[in-house]
Each structure stands twice: as C-alpha cells, then as structure tokens.
C-alpha cells in the first residue's frame, strides 16, 4: 500500500461518480433536444441521487433480505472496480498489471448479474420477469463481446489493456485486418446499449410493461446505488471503446508537442471528449431514435446479425495477422 494507491482508491470513485453522472446529465439533455424539448439541467442526475438518498429504503416482505440488500452494493463495487482498469488517455490505469481485458469482461457481466440476482431476490413477479429477460439478453450479447476481445488478443498477442492503449490499433493492422477491426467496432457499438440496459435493449427494465423490471422493488438508498453504478458503467463502457478503437492522442492528431502539466490536462480533456462522442453515438442517439425491441427480437439481433458481423471481423483480423 503506497500513498499513491490510497490516493487512487479515494480519488477514482469520486471522479468516476462525478463523470458518470455528468455524462448521464449530458445524455438526458441531448436526448431532450433531439425530441425538441429543453430538457433537464446537466446537474439533474446529481439531484436525483441526492433525493433517492433521502427516501425511505423499503425491503419487501417476501424478499431474500440479505441478497436484496447486498446486490446494489455488489453492482456499485463492480462498476467502480471496472473504472480502475481503464487507462485515462495518457494516464495509466491505477490497477494496471493486476488484470486485463478478461477481468473487464467479467466485471461488466458481474454488474448485470448483480441486478438480475437482485431482481430474483425481490420476490416480485415483475422483478422475476425482468431478471429472466436480463439473463436471456446477457446470453445473447456476451458472445459478440467476447469475440471482440478475442480479436484484440489475436492482434496484440496479449490481453493487457496497457499494451493495447500504447499502440493505436489502426497503425498495426494490414488493410484486411483493418476492415476486420472496423467490423468488431460496429459489433461493440451495437452491444453497448444492451450492456448498459438502454433503449432499444432495456427490455429487462421496461418501465411501461413490467414496472421497471429488476428494479421494481428497489427504493431509496439501494436504488441510488444502482443508479450510480449504471452511470459509472456507462462512462466506463464508452471509455473502454475509446481505449480499444480510438486511442489517438491529442498531440498525435494535431501534431503539437506538449509537456508537463499541460500535456496531462489537454490529453485528459481530449480523452473525455472522445468518450463523450462515443457515448452520444452509441447511447444517446440510439436510445432516442429507436423503440424497445421484444426479447426474442433482441436475441435474434445479437445471435444472428451482430454475431455474424463480429465473427466476420474476427476472421478478417485472423487473416490479416
């Protein structure tokens, strides 16, 4: 335990919550503007969390109490840990060397799994239906997600995110493999809304048909934890895509050489900007433009179409390497 580790352990969750909620606020604002509304202020998610923490936390009578209360904490912890593995532009990841893309894959799954288990533990039919849908959806999108990660392992001969972040993927591929990587990018972009439980894949939390699904019985503090973990995961997922597919630094793109504090500030802002672009493209625009799919439609989309794209990408990458 060095002082640096302790600093990261304290600073990163706070930074993660701040960024996650800010991006959620921007997302809501842009979504509102797209439907020609004014939309809530960017700070709205902060107020939402603050209000949820004030509310009473109800535990239903026929819920499995310890599971019901433990799952929000597990979900929150897993998305916080996820953030510690992602290198922020030129900043290195705090947990660098302790895990790789496989751990990230597991942490992404763990959060959805925690929500599903929490849904089953609620003892409400709505939550059970929601949890079942989430399990089906998870089985559908895990395959393309794993394919993307295998594709990267094939290219770099390593699962380490630091290795991947150090060399932009586009500079080390042949044209054939480049098309493959592009297809993997498309597949990951389609997986993103499902991973984050956003429209059109928020089937497990459909508020109009199954009363918010897995979250139906959660209130107060527990709901606030789920809200926060959802926000942080949204940011982390977009950041992961930036690290994998658009790792170009500010000085690389604009040909300026920076040093010292300026370098870190500019590169940090540039990284956040890239994350915002991905977040808007993969989440905001998609969730505003589409209606909700039925569960079997979503399953077919992932198992047939997205899987096909991802596997084709993987084959091209394999040929290109």
């Amino acid at each position: 335990m060095t002082p640096e580790t302790i600093f990261y352990a304290v600073a990163f969750p706070i930074l993660g919550i701040f960024l996650g909620l800010t991006y959620k606020g921007i997302d809501r604002r842009i979504s509102a503007r797209m439907t020609s509304r004014i939309g809530p202020p960017i700070r709205q998610p902060f107020w939402d969390v603050g209000k949820l923490l004030l509310k009473e936390t109800v535990v239903p009578e026929n819920a499995v109490k310890w599971l019901f209360n433990a799952m929000p904490i597990l979900a929150f912890a897993s998305s916080m840990t996820l953030l510690l593995y992602i290198p922020f532009g030129v900043l290195r990841a705090p947990l660098e060397g302790y895990g790789d893309l496989i751990v990230i894959l597991y942490l992404l799954t763990l959060q959805s799994l925690a929500m599903a288990v929490g849904g089953f533990a609620s003892g409400s039919p709505f939550s059970s239906v929601g949890a079942q849908r989430e399990m089906v959806l998870m089985m559908s999108y895990e395959m393309p997600l794993a394919t993307v990660i295998v594709g990267f392992a094939l290219l770099y001969k390593s699962f380490s995110l630091t290795t991947i972040a150090s060399t932009p993927v586009w500079t080390m591929v042949s044209p054939v493999a480049g098309i493959g990587v592009l297809l993997l990018f498309v597949a990951l972009l389609v997986v993103t809304p499902a991973e984050l439980a956003k429209l059109p894949f928020d089937i497990a939390e459909a508020e109009t048909e199954i009363a918010e699904g897995m979250l139906a019985e959660y209130s107060g503090r527990n709901l606030a934890l789920f809200y926060l973990s959802d926000a942080v995961r949204g940011f982390a997922m977009a950041a992961l895509e930036v690290v994998l597919f658009i790792p170009f630094t500010f000085s690389y793109v604009f040909g300026v050489s920076l040093s010292g504090t300026t370098l870190y500030i500019v590169e940090g802002l540039w990284f956040l900007f890239k994350v915002l672009i991905i977040y808007i493209a993969a989440v905001t625009v998609v969730r505003t433009s589409f209606g909700r799919f039925r569960i079997e439609q979503a399953s077919r989309i992932f198992w047939v179409h997205v899987n096909l794209i991802a596997l084709l990408g993987l084959a091209l990458v394999w040929l290109g390497v």
Binding site: R28, A32, S36, W47, G50, V58, Y218, S219
Partner: protein
C-alpha cells in the same frame, strides 16, 4: 439545510389510473411533451410506485380498484404526496353518487393536492406537482426532527 431542496429539483411521479376516461391521462402525457416539457424541472414519470415521490391518481375509483389504490399508496417509500387529477377523483364529477364508486379519492387515501377540471390543463397539473414539493419538504423536515 441544502439537502431538503433536492425534492424541489427531482420529483418522480407514479401515475395510477382508476376508472378514468383517459382524458386526464392524456393531459398528464401532454405535460411531458415538447410544449410543456416537465422534465426540465426534473419531473419524471416512473414505472414503479417504489421509485415514486408523488402519486398521481386520475378518475373516479370503482369498488374493485379501491384496495389496489390503497396498496399502491402503501408501497411508496416515505416521504410521499398524493395528487388527484380531474373532477371525477376530487368529487365524483360526472359520476357523483354512483352506486359503483367508493366516493372521492380522499376517502380512501390521504390527498394533498386537488386539480379540478374535466380534464384539467397541463399547466394546472404541473402547478399541482409544484405544490406537492412543499408538502414533501415539510414531511422530510418532520422525519429529520424525529431522528434527532
């Protein structure tokens, strides 16, 4: 006490429709459309009573629905407020004294804000939600007083 103002900025509403003719419900949806855009004040419709701060009830309440309405109210976490939208809920309206109804909603659950009208205008509904803030903040103050 900066915390208490949180209700002023973020208010989640659950909409329960009793024996409504759908007129008031349409007006509630109208409050969310681009013209009125209630979301810019942080007002949001949620799908589960467990997430709600405010219960919005429309329509006269038939016998079958009375106990369900009571259960919805009891499922909401404290602090909570109830708004009745439309003439039917406040007094019985068109169906006053009907043998099928259990009377105005305030005989079943405690009501904080009444919005008369058949149907009321969306501005009136947003105004009612604003009035419910005051009640929620008062309740929260009382709860905090009890804790200390």
């Amino acid at each position: 006490m900066g915390k208490l103002t949180n209700f002023k900025r973020s208010l989640w509403v659950f909409h329960a429709s009793g024996g409504s003719c759908n007129g008031c419900d349409i007006e509630i949806i109208a409050a969310l459309t681009p013209r009125y855009d209630a979301e810019r004040f942080g007002i949001k419709l949620v799908g589960s009573p467990r997430h709600a701060d405010v219960l919005l009830v429309t329509g006269a309440i038939p016998r079958d629905f009375a106990d369900k309405l009571k259960r919805i109210y009891e499922q909401m976490p404290d602090p909570k407020a109830v708004i009745v939208v439309g003439n039917c809920g406040t007094s019985g309206g068109l169906f006053y004294d009907s043998y099928n109804l259990v009377g105005p909603i305030d005989e079943i659950i405690p009501v904080d804000v009444y919005v008369p009208g058949c149907p009321p205008r969306p501005e009136a509904i947003i105004d009612a939600v604003v009035k419910a803030w005051l009640k929620l903040e008062k309740l929260e103050k009382e709860l905090e007083g009890k804790k200390e």
